[in-house]
């Protein structure tokens, strides 16, 4: 009743340089254990299409719990094995603090905006 089920969409970066190698996963709702299947499905779709950089957009997320963080950690682990890079953007200040606590940014850097995250991913390409 009180949960905001997670809605997950995948898109390519807009513009002429759009490529399947860089994909954005937009998250909307609660990032918790119930969102696991949707996040993993989006990650798998991006991977199948050849994504090397996967950017998670937290702009429309206002609730994350440690079960949701565990889902993100498992994605980061899979991405490492597949030699992909995971980047996060528009994470609010409070959840940045929580991500810092669990040292997630060591493996998935956090950027203030989509523009910054895309620029960082392009610089690595």
């Amino acid at each position: 009743m009180l949960r905001k089920d997670l809605k997950v969409d995948i898109r390519k970066v807009a513009g002429p340089a759009a490529s399947a190698a860089m994909q954005i996963i937009d998250l909307q709702g609660d990032v918790n254990s119930t969102g696991e299947a949707a996040i993993k499905q989006a990650y798998n779709t991006a991977t199948t299409e050849g994504a090397r950089h996967i950017l998670f957009n937290f702009e429309k997320v206002d609730y994350i719990n440690t079960s949701g963080i565990a889902v993100l950690i498992s994605i980061v682990m899979e991405a490492q094995k597949a030699q992909q890079k995971v980047l996060l953007f528009q994470v609010n200040r409070h959840y940045q603090k929580i991500f810092d606590l669990v040292r997630l940014p060591m493996y998935a850097k956090i950027y203030n905006s989509e523009v910054e995250a895309v620029a960082a991913a392009r610089a690595e390409s």
């Binding site: 682990m77 409070h94 606590l101 669990v102 060591m106």
Partner: protein, 151 residues
């Protein structure tokens, strides 16, 4: 003068209802004058404590009882989360997870809740239940007069 006042809440043992406890704790903490950043920390701590109680203490049984008790004092707020203790005795100490191992895939990614709580509040520990049996987890935050505006 005795400032102690208590507010008690009983919530269904079902994920999602922890948000009611979060909102209640936030409302009380705001009223006491805690800074917005500390209220956010408290919300996450309360959420994690409730989810921990639902999953471990009450073994995800939707019929189990879960209580959240807020104790308001002049310069501190204590939040006790009480479950039925069906998952056995709680840990005596809160161990720090090995994040490098988790992130390297050598340890399960879950089991972060108590670790996170410990970093968000001034005190966090399992205590002997005030009434009856079960597990009782207590979190305390204290007003810092230099940083916070007292009401």
């Amino acid at each position: 003068m005795d400032y102690r006042k208590t507010v008690e809440l009983k919530i269904p043992n079902e994920a999602g209802y922890e948000k009611i406890a979060m909102k209640l704790a936030a409302s009380v903490a705001e009223g006491m004058g805690f800074a917005p950043e500390r209220v956010e920390d408290l919300k996450t701590a309360v959420s994690e404590a409730c989810l921990n109680a639902m999953q471990h203490g009450n073994q995800d049984d939707v019929t189990a009882r879960l209580f959240v008790i807020l104790t308001i004092e002049a310069s501190s707020l204590a939040i006790d989360v009480k479950d039925e203790g069906r998952g056995g005795r709680p840990p005596e100490t809160i161990e720090s997870p090995d994040m490098e191992k988790k992130l390297a895939g050598l340890q399960k990614p879950r089991g972060l809740g108590l670790f996170v709580i410990q970093h968000l509040v001034d005190e966090a520990m399992f205590v002997a239940p005030d009434v009856g049996e079960g597990n009782q987890f207590r979190m305390v935050i204290r007003l810092e007069p230099h940083k916070e505006q007292s009401c």
